[in-house]
Amino acid sequence: MLKVLKSGFFTSIQDLGRLNYRNIGVPVSGAMDHDSVKKANRLLGNDTIDPVLEITMTGPTLQFDSPTTICLSGAFMSPTLNNEPIEYYKVISVKQGDILSYGKLENGFRSYLAVKGGFKAISVLGSCSQYFPVTPRKSIKDGDEIMYDAIASFEPILSELRTENHFQSKNITVYKGPEFFILSDKQLADLFSKRFTVSKENNRMAYQLSEKIDGHSYSMLTSGTLPGTVQLTPLGKLIVLMKDGQTTGGYPRILQLSEDAICLLAQKKFGDSLFFKLVG
């Protein structure tokens, strides 16, 4: 088991999401940057959907009570194992009593910790992803104990992945959303030329952007939304729904982020800038 000595700013158990309950309003949840999770799980020979820890901004301090193999991915948070720096995208053996801690956030915003065989968290409605009130809690707390299977040794097929860090990219790839047609020439010009920045209101539910474009008076009936849906409010505010976002909404859905763009946006924090790039 993994003992949580300090939980960090916001750390939660996530897999790739809770499918098949969106028709009763349950968000899909799951890792915000699913691409980083898949890489870590693959290096460990796990299923890509195996539960990991999603670590936001400031990392936790964790102690392993049995040997296993881990892999770190996503935002680089200067991690150490027993005070020795360790690398990302690399299969690392840990022993009983080892302490993993995190330091300075160097890039990105969300880091992942995967363990051989995945964390053994309670599955609710087909997923271990923490989302209140579907799961009893929304995140892990100091003193929590998270189960995993002890593994004495593991020979990975590939022990290390060379990855180019792409979190600095400012280009957010988008498709036209269902209400794209309501946009005026001025709104379109602003949308695809302006630099937008992530506002303080950013979390697993949604990212609001600081800059506005012209508003609208288009009235529509509530309809389905997705992670990555960009909503335009009547006052011209842009809201990008994320993994814990509502399943339906009444604001025009002007753009839809690509799956890769959702992962990239998940690595942006307050004040980071971005540009929308339309494809399709």
Binding site: G25, P133, L221, G224, L226, G228, Q246
Partner: protein, 244 residues
């Protein structure tokens, strides 16, 4: 047999949106539910269907590689579906609501605005059958249609940071139940003791889009009893199948 002009649009890499005419209309909702049922019969794996008002969002668990082919499958499904044979099953649920002052924190303001007595408001709110046009916003939050005009009141100017789970509210043309503690701007006129959403149940939400809801005014004593039943998960709700 009447068919609507429907539009099928790609929505990102994994979803499509099917839209019916943009209206709040029972007949359209029925057509949508029938389509969902017919699509499920095709047993194409990996799809979620999210109906709401006049649209269905369909989400695939994989990237959609051939949109034109999928569009044809869906159109064929729509053209072939047969209304008389496969009507979707729908239920009318009777839900208890306690309108006592303790829960109905905005009742005085609301009756004042609507120029109704409290008993007239309760009489009016409990006399209608409301259709569930969608479930979203929060797990188990029902978008209910069919509120009488006499109960239309704008949402509160300042939303509350905390509204209790079970609170029954009015806002614009809508009435509804908060399925969990949440911030909210609706005018609260009562409380429903039955949990609308319970993740530990095999069917976490007993209501489906297309069902109807009728509220029944209950005393504080009955509210307390139903609340305990709800908490331990044994409650029998009165339901009847809707035909025609």
């Amino acid at each position: 047999m009447k068919k609507y002009p429907i539009s099928i649009k790609p929505f990102g890499e994994r979803a499509i949106l099917i839209e019916w005419p943009n209206k709040v209309d029972e007949a359209i909702l029925e057509d949508i539910l029938l389509f969902v049922k017919s699509f499920k019969k095709l047993e194409i794996p990996g799809w979620e269907t999210i109906p709401a008002y006049s649209s269905i969002l369909m989400v695939s668990n994989a990237e959609i590689s051939d949109f034109p082919k999928l569009e044809k499958t869906l159109l064929d499904c729509y053209i072939r579906m047969n209304k008389s044979e496969t009507r979707a099953q729908r239920f009318l649920w009777k839900l208890p609501v306690c309108y006592d002052d303790e829960f109905a924190i905005d009742l005085a303001e609301t009756t004042n605005y609507l120029n109704l007595s409290a008993s007239a408001l309760i009489e009016s709110h409990t006399s209608c059958e409301y259709t569930v046009f969608g479930i979203g916003f929060l797990p188990g939050f029902m978008y209910l249609g069919g509120l009488p005009k006499t109960l239309e009141i704008p949402r509160r100017k300042e939303p509350r940071l905390h509204v209790d789970k079970g609170s029954v509210g009015l806002a614009g043309k809508q009435t509804g139940i908060y399925p969990q503690d949440s911030p909210g701007g609706w005018n609260i006129i009562g409380s429903c003791p039955i949990p609308i959403f319970n993740a530990t149940k095999e069917t976490p939400c007993f209501v489906n889009v297309g069902d109807r809801i009728k509220f029944q005014s209950v005393s504080r004593a009955e509210y307390d009893l139903r609340k305990i039943e709800g908490e331990v998960g044994i409650y029998n709700l009165e339901k009847t199948e809707i035909d025609a």
